[in-house]
């Protein structure tokens, strides 16, 4: 059997994978910067996050264009098709993750730095976790590693637990606060928690997409459990 390697197609697929990895790393960087800025109430760093996010947005559209080009010119099948479809769906989630990181940076101008703001330690824990999640998800993508991708949903469960805890804490803090500026700052802490929680959810989506890309099976792990009975 003779071997035909579609060289041009292979190069373009490689380029697509590299672009996704690059956006993944940008989005990880964005959250790292945003959390550092949040820690030190650093407005200059917060501005850098915004600049990074613009880059993510631009690169997202380049990825979508490349995918469209590949579909129309190469008629991809099987794993090539799954790779391209994964890129299209994953880039949307990555772009949203960038927005989440930007959301963390956005609260900094609203945090009145003359006030003593007690930041719940769970926020830092959540930050560490979600950054690991995206890092591992992109590693799983780079190496087509389904086992590694599978380690991410349980981490999201931990993020959700921390979120529930910090939510209660912050709600309590807000009832104790008399100063309206402090109330506003305390509320912004909740925003940060929410952005981190969403970032974790989206990193889980990314991991699910990696599994789909490799196996062709789409498994939903972000299941919302609500007790409707009261």
């Amino acid at each position: 059997m003779s071997v035909h390697i579609r060289e041009r197609f292979e190069r373009k697929l490689s380029e697509l994978r590299d672009r996704i990895l690059h956006i993944g790393s940008l989005v990880e960087q964005e959250m790292t910067l945003a959390l550092t800025a949040f820690e030190g109430l650093d407005r200059a760093l917060a501005r850098e996050v915004f600049a990074l996010d613009e880059q993510v947005n631009a690169e997202r559209f380049e990825v979508e264009d490349l995918c469209l080009q590949l579909i129309v010119t190469q008629q991809p099948m099987a794993r090539d098709l799954r790779l391209i479809v994964t890129a299209i769906t994953m880039v949307v989630d990555l772009e949203r993750m960038g927005d989440q990181a930007k959301g963390v940076a956005k609260v900094i101008p609203h945090l009145h730095d003359h006030l003593e703001l007690v930041k719940p330690p769970e926020l830092k824990e959540m930050g560490v976790l979600v950054r690991s999640m995206i890092s591992q998800a992109m590693e799983a993508y780079a190496t087509s590693n389904v086992e590694l991708a599978a380690t991410i949903p349980p981490m999201d469960d931990d993020v959700d637990r921390l979120y529930a805890k910090v939510f209660t804490q912050i709600m309590y803090m807000m009832t104790e606060v008399k100063d309206p500026h402090q109330a506003e700052s305390t509320y912004e802490l909740l925003r940060v928690a929410r952005e981190l929680e969403r970032y974790g959810d989206l990193a889980t989506n990314v991991a699910e997409r990696v599994v789909y890309m490799v196996t062709g099976e789409m498994v939903e792990t972000n299941v919302d459990r609500v007790d409707w009975a009261e």
Binding site: M1, S2, V3, H4, I5, R6, F9, Q75, P76, M77, A78, R79, D80, L81, R82, T215, G216
Partner: protein
């Protein structure tokens, strides 16, 4: 019905819309000493379109032709195994191959209308089979069934050879369905046609599948993906003998094939 005694359960199977229209069981095909195809097992679902794809020389056309005993016309051809239609082996000694071909019709790659009028092309098969009903109605019905009536109704007595390639192919389809087969075999039915005529034939295939079981051999993977419900992938071994590698729902074969040989072929990594 076939010219041989069918056991009642087989007749029921056809009337009940039993799932398999035709079953290829343990089929090996030889041309003289050369084995063209090895151990093919394929159960073709009734009322569905099944595509057979694979590289040149993999035996897919050979297998297709074996389903209505067209290989009988090749003196050195020999088949081992069974091809079951309605529960009966069509290669059993008492079976009339002409009768088989009335139930299992064939459309070829190169349109081959008879050098007769459009009308006579369609009527011929029915006449030969002793059709006693209204021939004008049958011709119209068949031409409508082949999506050709509108284009030829005012020139039925004109020569079929004056039609375009796409029209000739649809005429051949009309000719095939005029004898009311159960199954239509198509050997690369659109490969000699332009892109528009090709899409026309594909649309027609989907319409015909409402009444007939269709098995199509095609080199065009996108066509197989567009048109078929099930796809069988064949390949050829080092000994040049063809074999079936994988068979499944078209959507699964083209998005997530189980065998790496299938994936290699459909992604164009292996010829």
């Amino acid at each position: 019905m076939l010219n041989l005694k069918m056991n009642p359960s087989s007749q029921e199977a056809i009337q009940d819309g039993g799932k398999a229209a035709v079953e290829v069981r343990g089929v090996n095909i030889f041309y003289g000493a050369f084995q063209a195809v090895r151990n093919v097992n394929l159960s073709v679902q009734k009322g569905k379109i099944t595509a057979m794809i694979g590289p040149s020389g993999c035996g897919k056309s050979t297998v297709l032709r074996s389903i209505n005993r067209m290989n009988d016309l090749i003196p050195s051809a020999r088949l081992e195994g069974q091809v079951l239609f309605g529960g009966q082996d069509i290669y059993a000694p008492q079976v009339d191959p002409v009768e088989v071909r009335r139930h299992i019709g064939m459309v070829f790659q190169k349109p081959n209308p008879f050098p007769k009028s459009i009308y006579d092309n369609v009527a011929w098969g029915a006449k030969i089979n002793g059709y006693k009903g209204n021939m004008d109605e049958l011709v119209e019905q068949s031409l409508r069934g082949a999506a050709l009536w509108g284009e030829v109704k005012d020139k039925l007595q004109q020569s079929a050879l004056g039609l375009s390639g796409g029209q000739q192919q649809r005429l051949c389809i009309a000719r095939t369905i005029a004898v009311k087969p159960n199954i239509i075999l198509m050997d690369e039915p659109a490969s000699a046609l332009d892109p528009i005529a090709t899409l026309c034939i594909e649309d027609l295939m989907r319409e015909l599948a409402q009444e007939y079981t269709i098995i199509v051999v095609t080199h065009n993977m996108q066509q197989a993906a567009r048109v078929s419900d099930f796809t069988a992938f064949f390949t050829v071994g080092d000994d040049r003998t063809g074999m079936m590698v994988e068979y499944g729902p078209t959507e699964q074969i083209f998005t997530n094939p189980k065998d790496e040989r299938t994936e290699g072929y459909i992604t164009g990594r292996f010829g």
